[in-house]
């Protein structure tokens, strides 16, 4: 193999130089390295971090492709000239809008990762491979690329590298990026104009005096918060033919992705299941509040509270956040018991924030970020229980 030996020679040549991490990142992308075990176990299991991350990415690819079709489909539907969902026209719009998001996300993020690896003289870790895929899926389609680039740089540096890189961060980097966008550029991240391609442009035209119809790109949650009528069926919501962030709309594909992650044992079923349970419980509580008449129908919270409890699983970013972001092993609880608590609270808080946040009716992002912060605390108490058991054993002995 010419390539194999040439690359090996290059690796030897770069060894010890500051570009070694960058070269190795590319080299190991092509070839599983020739590293052997030393002391300790002489054999090792087949999985490494690249394989793990790759599995998560594979689980997201269907959402990405669906998101591309949906971008075009929503665009033409809003224009009043609907096209078939699985049509080239729909896909073309998605491709030219989503692909740049993906390229900017990976380009900027990996660029910074390589830079840090070279400066700090460690290997390029694979954490960003998943983050880079998540980011385009959780932003509105028309987000300007420079904003995304700024946010990615912020998220990678402040969200991850300052803590020591992959494995050390406290907050989920993808959500840090999204939170940055949300607080820095709120007009591009919320409201009824950003979720469908062309809506912003059209409203600017109208403002400039053009005589055209406005495009409404309201999400279902937005409509509920504004007390508007919903004209999407449950099946539309489930399969994802609704406006929203690029990859979050299809609960069906997310469900498949989640099942795939559980089957491959990469994603934590404990977190996913408990999060769904938490959301259902909160939804039921709100339903109870609404049906027992504790809240006036005129209240701005009424429509969201009165939403059938299980519909919450289908709308907004709940499913996506639960499956792909709450399960991030670095920022989630690390103990199995802790995962149950952590997941449940994410679901519970997601729906609570969603209902009580009329300005921006979505709570998954904030719920996960909040629980990221509390995950170490949860783990602390779970581990302390084990420590206490050990102490008690000692006391029984000495007493």
């Amino acid at each position: 193999m010419g390539l194999k030996s040439n690359l090996h020679n290059l690796k030897e040549k770069y060894k010890g130089t500051k570009y070694a991490p960058a070269f190795n990142a590319l080299h190991t992308f092509l070839y599983l390295p020739n590293e052997t075990t030393h002391n300790g176990t002489h054999i090792k299991a087949a999985d490494d971090l690249k394989r793990t991350m790759n599995t998560v990415i594979m689980a997201m690819v269907p959402c990405l492709i669906f998101g591309m079709f949906n971008a075009g489909y929503q665009h033409f539907s809003a224009l009043g000239t609907p096209v078939e969902f699985l049509s080239w026209d729909a896909f073309y719009i998605g491709l030219i809008k989503v692909l740049p998001l993906l390229i900017v996300s990976y380009g900027v993020g990996l660029g910074i990762e390589f830079l840090f690896a070279i400066i700090k003289k460690h290997e390029v870790e694979e954490g960003y491979l998943v983050t880079g895929m998540l980011v385009p899926l959780i932003v509105p389609i028309d987000i300007p690329l420079w904003m995304l680039a700024v946010a990615v740089a912020f998220g990678v540096v402040i969200g991850k590298e300052v803590f020591g890189g992959t494995g050390m961060n406290i907050l989920n980097p993808a959500l840090t990026i999204r939170a940055f966008l949300f607080f820095a550029y709120p007009t591009w991240m919320s409201g009824d104009k950003v979720w469908v391609h062309g809506a912003v442009e059209r409203s600017q035209e109208i403002a400039a005096g053009a005589n055209v119809d406005a495009i409404s790109g309201e999400t279902i949650l937005g409509s509920l918060a504004q007390g508007h009528e919903i004209h999407y069926s449950i099946s539309d919501m489930f399969f994802g033919f609704i406006p929203g962030s690029v990859g979050e709309t299809s609960t069906f594909l997310i469900l498949l992705g989640g099942l795939f992650l559980i089957f491959t044992k990469i994603g934590s079923w404990r977190i996913m299941l408990s999060s769904v349970l938490g959301a259902l419980v909160m939804g039921l509580i709100f339903n109870g509040v609404a049906s027992s008449g504790w809240i006036a129908e005129s209240s701005k919270f009424y429509a969201l509270m009165n939403t059938e409890f299980w519909h919450h699983l289908l709308i907004g970013g709940f499913a996506f956040g639960t499956v792909y972001m709450a399960t991030d092993p670095v920022t989630a609880s690390q103990t199995n018991k802790g995962k149950w608590i952590y997941g449940f609270l994410i679901g519970f808080l997601s729906i609570m924030i969603r209902v009580f946040n009329p300005a921006y009716p979505e709570g998954v992002m904030l719920a996960i970020l909040l629980m990221n912060v509390f995950a170490p605390t949860i783990d602390h108490y779970v581990v302390q229980a084990n420590v206490k058991k050990r102490m008690k054993r000692l006391k029984v002995k000495t007493a």
Binding site: K4, L32, T36, H42, I43, L49, G167, K265, P329
Partner: protein, 451 residues
């Protein structure tokens, strides 16, 4: 309370090259090598010099910090070389074996009537003491401390392990003498475990508490059994002894001779005809691995011990003091195109991330020494717990060792563990962290700081 131990967490790694139950006498090794590094934490003080003649069972060095613990020569012969490393640290003591073996005669004692002091001083003087290890810290037992219990695991569940049922055959008398004697050194019990449904020579022993164990590896690890039977608390000590070393202790008690003979299994996928050998501690592995074994100058690794916790030795190296297994597997020093994302059928994995070992749980694998990926920070969680049966949080204790937080290490259960308990978590680790080394370093810090 049932005496049986059944675990569900763990992993049996099925490998090619299991030893056939056929016993051969190995060619008698010309030289015998003792490596002080086999005895972790011991600083050797030599009593013999190059050129001295020693008998089999004659003292070669003792432990500087515990002068009563003698280390003896497995063979009679002449000390031909003492290899030293940095700061004149003793690396190896080479003994040229005599044609006819002469044994050091120790006093014979009556095991039934002897008291604890007599037994202890005999074991210390005769060189049998190093076979007794202690928890905490997984080092040679401190003779000043009396253990709360003694554990012997008669079931080795590690990959390709020598079958104790086979190697202990016909040694019932020695085993009985050894456990009776050791039983007098503890106020607690002697716990002996055997494989459920097996026919172990150990199961006929009297004066011990017998446990039937079943489940995947590491059920046979003595650490797992201690954790399930009587975990070590702060301030307590337990002793552990391998059954094949019980045979040597038993023979010494019965005959007064230190007979370092041991049945060793030669296993692994690189071995043509895996089988058992009768040989001696410290023998050159070359006396066993070539005949119907491995090719000369092939690309393989010789391990004294099992693939999870054994030591790499050179083909001209020697069997270490405690192991009864020589494993030879192929080296994995080659690249694999897209090895990180293509479907994998020929390697073991606990996940199903395009790895398909779950399809065929009984398949035997030919694994090599490739790490299958590079060293990374801890990322994935929950996968260690699946193969770790102890009531301890593995990732948390590893991290506490990495940042040397003694209070946390103690609270999380460091007194209970040995490096080998973390062999499986190291095997499945996605981040390829050296768990056993981390634990060993953590234990060493504790010995130094707490004692």
């Amino acid at each position: 309370m049932s005496n049986d131990i059944k675990i569900t967490k763990g992993l049996d790694i099925k490998l090619e090259g299991e030893a056939e139950k056929a016993l051969e006498s190995a060619v008698i090794s010309n030289t015998c090598t003792i490596r002080p590094e086999d005895f972790h934490g011991v600083i050797p003080k030599l009593v013999a010099r190059v050129g001295d003649k020693v008998k089999a069972g004659g003292s070669v060095f003792y432990d500087k910090s515990n002068e009563s613990v003698q280390f003896v020569s497995p063979v009679s012969g002449e000390i031909v070389d003492i290899l030293r490393g940095e700061k004149r640290k003793i690396l190896a003591i080479k003994i040229q074996a005599d044609k006819t073996q002469v044994y050091q005669e120790n006093e014979k004692i009556n095991v039934q009537s002897a008291n604890a002091e007599t037994i202890k001083s005999l074991l210390l003087a005769s060189g049998c003491w190093p076979f007794i290890k202690q928890r905490p810290y997984d080092v040679i037992a401190n003779p000043q401390k009396s253990p709360k219990a003694i554990f012997v695991s008669g079931y080795n569940s590690a990959p390709l392990a020598a079958d104790y049922d086979f190697v202990l055959q016909g040694k019932e008398a020695e085993l009985q003498a050894a456990v009776t004697a050791l039983g007098k050194l503890t106020e607690g019990k002697v716990h002996v475990s055997v494989k459920q449904g097996g026919s172990s020579p150990l199961s006929g022993l009297s004066g011990v508490t017998m446990h039937q164990v079943s489940g995947p590896h590491p059920v046979g690890n003595v650490g797992t059994q201690i954790n399930k039977i009587d975990p070590v608390n702060k301030g307590e000590t337990v002793w552990t002894i391998n059954p094949q070393d019980l045979v040597i202790i038993g023979e010494l008690l019965l005959t007064g001779k230190f007979n370092a003979e041991r049945i060793v299994a030669l296993v692994g996928s690189s071995v043509q005809k895996p089988r058992y050998f009768k040989t001696k501690i410290g023998s050159e592995v070359a006396t066993m691995i070539y005949d119907n074994g491995v090719e000369q100058n092939g690309n393989y690794r010789v391990i004294s011990g099992n693939v999870l916790s054994g030591k790499q030795v050179k083909p001209d190296g020697n069997l270490d003091y405690y192991s009864n297994l020589i494993t030879v597997i192929p080296e994995g020093d080659d690249y694999e195109l897209f090895g990180w994302n293509k479907p994998v059928f020929n390697k073991v994995s606990t996940t199903r991330a395009m790895t398909f070992s779950w399809l065929n749980p009984n398949k035997k694998y030919n694994l090599n020494t490739n790490t299958n990926g590079e060293h990374r920070a801890f990322v994935l969680t929950g996968n260690y717990e699946e193969v770790f049966p102890l009531d301890i949080y593995p990732m948390q204790i590893l991290k506490s060792c990495m940042y040397n937080d003694l209070d946390e290490m103690e609270a999380l259960g460091m007194y209970e563990v040995a490096p080998e308990d973390f062999a499986l978590t190291e095997f499945v680790c996605v981040s390829k962290q050296p768990h056993q080394e981390i634990i060993r370093r953590g234990l060493d810090v504790m010995i130094k700081e707490i004692g």
